[in-house]
Amino acid sequence: MIDPKNPARRWHDMGGDTAGPIPEMETPNENHDFSLWEKRVDALMIIGAAKGYFTVDGLRRVLEDMGEDAFEKMTYYERWIASINQNLIEGGAYTTADLAEKMAEITARGETYGDASSPT
């Protein structure tokens, strides 16, 4: 939400805001792990940055520009893949048309992540 009293303040810059209790002290590394697709997103971030297509600030810039709604409604790695994808297109790794074609092809492969990530 844009604050009409201070439109220059951006949603992600939340230090000092009031907020509810710290959510359940969940510990992904101890109790359960990130799923494979989330780990792959993480790896794509590191690799895309290491190859010079974008920087962590580029990742953050797109996350910030996605706005508060994305922060509230998408999971952490959903936001990341959206940002990584945009940065890679901006960095010239592939085109929007490449992406559209590839996503359509993947959707046709099957109904689950496992089915769709194993081309036959």
């Binding site: 509810g20 590839k102 109904e111």
Partner: protein, 213 residues
Amino acid sequence: MPHDHHDHDHLSPSGHPFRADDDTDLSYWQTMEIAVRELLVEKDITTPTEIANQIETMDARTPSNGAKVVARAWADPDFHAALMKDAAAATREMGFDIGPLKLIAVENTGDIHNMIVCTLCSCYPRNLLGLPPDWYKSRAYRSRTVREPRSVLAEFGVSLPDSTKVRVHDSTADMRYIVIPKRPQGTENMSQDELVALVTRDSMIGTGVAKAP
């Protein structure tokens, strides 16, 4: 590429079950991940092996790495001095593959309690400690820690006397932080290996303290 079709019975490389969403309906964002990954391979920007290796590297980074650093700092005065001077160099010298991580160690004493937050996103010393816990990335932790650190600490079960100064570190730029928790009393005769077991992840973020022996 690992064959991940219906692999819900398998453990992840870090030995824990994957989150149970690999067999649910393919989501839009999962479709995008597969597409980005395959496009990067087709364009010769990366390889399936490189991606798998990167996941393995990340899985090998866990809080136990940090715990070894802390235990050594407690037990070895020369290492302690090196760690406080340049934590990245000292950690690298211990053999941890921390990549380009720029690390500052901050130490808890009877008078000072340090805690780490990133208000702008969720910067975390992931190359040493692994990926951050979910709460570290939450709106509540990011918002409140810089304004009411003592209330936040209380929610984690840490209560400090007024005479202990709280030092909050907001990771706003290129540095990452590790808290060296106070060495618990009654550990004078413990070996470094025994000390490692007392160092929790939260004690290295500053939202916890080291376990009593």
